[in-house]
Symmetry: C2
Subunit: 355 residues, 2 copies
DNA sequence: TTGTATGCGTTATCAT
DNA sequence: ATGATAACGCATACAA
């Protein structure tokens, strides 16, 4: 049993077993064979270890080894949000899973939050991230300058996502939006859609731009006509807008967020436009779990896997197996056919009845 | 900018600022005044610190016995469970909130999970908790010996919950189940209930025992008859069991978990027994958010506040403001009247009509 | 086969 | 006012 107040250290064991502290260390690190330490000595040492309940001191090991086995997680928003149903949670599940596998611990940087509620790496004076061996960063807030500085200081980190201006400086994992939108556009073309509309959020961020770029590219490649992309708030996606889609011969709409999907659903219902009968809809985002978004066709960002890969990449980076220019794409699950269907022929066109 | 590859240490700063490493340490630990170090020196040192992006080495500080601003969080189950709708999340929200307020960072101990999936502080070779200044522990698994050992080693930690055998050794925060069950029994008595049943889980744990003890105590104090407590799996809570309640003149049932509440709801429906018309039901647990448990009368454990208080207590403990015998009860929100109602008079009893 | 000496980064004591 | 120096617990190169 451990003595009150103080934990046993290697020298305690050494004294009890009648050997030197070095011998204890050798045995503990599994190098007894190569140092040809007799079994009798090993037995005595192991007995002493059990008797004293010795456990290695993690801080001392870290100090000695240069690593402390701590992986930082920095988000620009609270990790455990009050408005749960939480976007980050799924990433964190993956991050924790991988951390468990790798035998490292996670540091959640709460101290980086200032009085105003915003988080910043350098805002609080020192870069606390340095407490950890490296870090996984996520968050949609734009803090490119901080990322750039962090990279220029040689701090090892992996970004989940992509920032066009700075992300060449660091390893990142990112959903493969290009392939995803190729799949979506192909799916729509295959069931017979002739003209597509794209509705984005008013506030733009990098992942959204990636999706739009990919959409535009593949619509062109597949020679499907599109309307000019529109950037709307959910309130603007009303019945008038839906009527305009119909008037423009649009048969499928891609919406960038689930808020827009809700708005489009509601507006179409009000306008008497059946989804997916008269208008197919694809959501390019995944909503909170509480919404039954499985009733919509939507692409599915592999958030858990992104978290897992980010941790794996960070370990690779720390061990020198990859460099800062290592970037990875993870496949995005294509949409179901919930709100994708063959468009109803326009009333004016001739219809042929088979059978 | 910092040199690539190695993080700055105090001696780097000292060299850059043209002072000794000791001077740097003195300034960093806020003892510049008492050592009468000139402002000019301080300024030079601070400038060097900023320039090199210096951050104290956490492991070294811990080893030395100082603080590193890391608060550990150890749960005996995964923090981010796959089966989310997550019990722990709410605690963690509180823990993170308080950590932000206190300006400390959180270490989630993932490395304590062994190959078999179970978590143990000492099982994984080293006691990694020592990397942090102290820790908040939670989890229902029974690991009293580990808690005892941790306490005996003088490691500062706070437990969320209570373990009758060992919790006198450490500070803890715990829901005030005694008051909660006084409230529940009082509520039931006030609306006219005459006989209560208690259904607990087959697998017992400490919080559950606390609730049962409190229930028994207050039922006696308030002189309300009860049936012998039953410990059932949800499958055993069937229509037969409901029929038996009715036969025994039970008018209200306390169930210990939401699984049991679901079972009772279903069984009563099948048996044609109206809840709360013929049988009132109080759930002594809170289920996952996805279940609309607000439709049931249930007590509400203040999980977020428990998290917040635990962190606050840990800081108090570290600063010597409290000792290991400091224990705190947090109020539990009493149940609504969703499934508590005046019991319907039995068919055989005389009813008087006022009017 | 085992032991001695050293350094990891920090803080604190004691000289200067 | 500043600088050596030792100690925290561990791992390792080197000696014996």
């Amino acid at each position: 049993m451990a003595k009150e107040g103080r934990t046993a250290r290697q020298s305690d064991i050494a004294r009890l077993a009648g050997v030197s502290q070095t011998t204890v260390s050798i045995i503990l690190t599994g190098r007894a064979r190569e140092n040809s330490i007799p079994q009798s000595t090993q037995d005595r040492v192991m007995a002493a270890i059990r008797e004293l309940g010795y456990v290695p001191n993690a801080a001392a090991r870290s100090l000695r080894g240069g690593r402390n086995g701590l992986i930082g997680v920095h988000t620009y928003e609270a990790v455990f949000p009050v408005t749960s149903e939480d976007y980050y949670n799924e990433f964190l599940v993956g991050i924790e899973e991988k951390a468990v596998e790798m035998g490292v611990d996670l540091v959640l940087f709460a101290s980086t939050q200032g009085a105003d509620g915003t988080r910043s790496i350098y805002g609080s004076g020192a870069n606390r991230l340095r407490l950890a061996d490296g870090a996984v960063l996520l968050g949609v807030e734009r803090n490119d300058d901080e990322l750039e500085r962090l990279a220029s200081e040689g701090y090892p980190f992996v970004f989940i996502g992509r920032r066009d201006t700075v992300s060449s400086l660091m390893p990142y994992v990112v959903p493969d939006y290009d392939s995803a939108l190729r799949d979506v556009v192909t799916q729509l073309k295959d069931v017979g859609h002739g003209k597509l509309a794209y509705v984005g959020n008013r506030m733009r961020n990098n992942p959204q731009e990636d999706r739009l770029t990919a959409f535009t590219r593949h619509a062109e490649l597949l020679e499907i006509p599109t309307t000019t992309p529109q950037f709307l708030s959910p309130a603007d996606l009303d019945t008038d807008r839906v009527a305009q889609f119909i008037k423009d011969d649009v048969t499928a709409v891609l919406v960038e967020s689930w808020e827009l999907a809700v708005a489009l659903s509601d507006a179409a219902a009000s306008a008497g436009i059946a989804i997916p009968g008269s208008l197919s809809m694809v959501c390019l985002d995944i909503g909170p779990r509480s919404l039954a978004v499985d009733n919509w066709s939507h692409i599915q960002v592999p958030r858990r896997e992104l978290g897992r890969r980010a941790v794996a990449l960070l370990m690779d980076l720390l061990d020198g197996r990859i460099t800062n220019d290592h970037h990875e794409l993870l496949p995005v699950t294509p949409p179901s056919f919930a709100t994708i269907a063959r468009p109803r022929p326009a009333p004016t066109s001739a219809t042929r009845i088979d059978g």
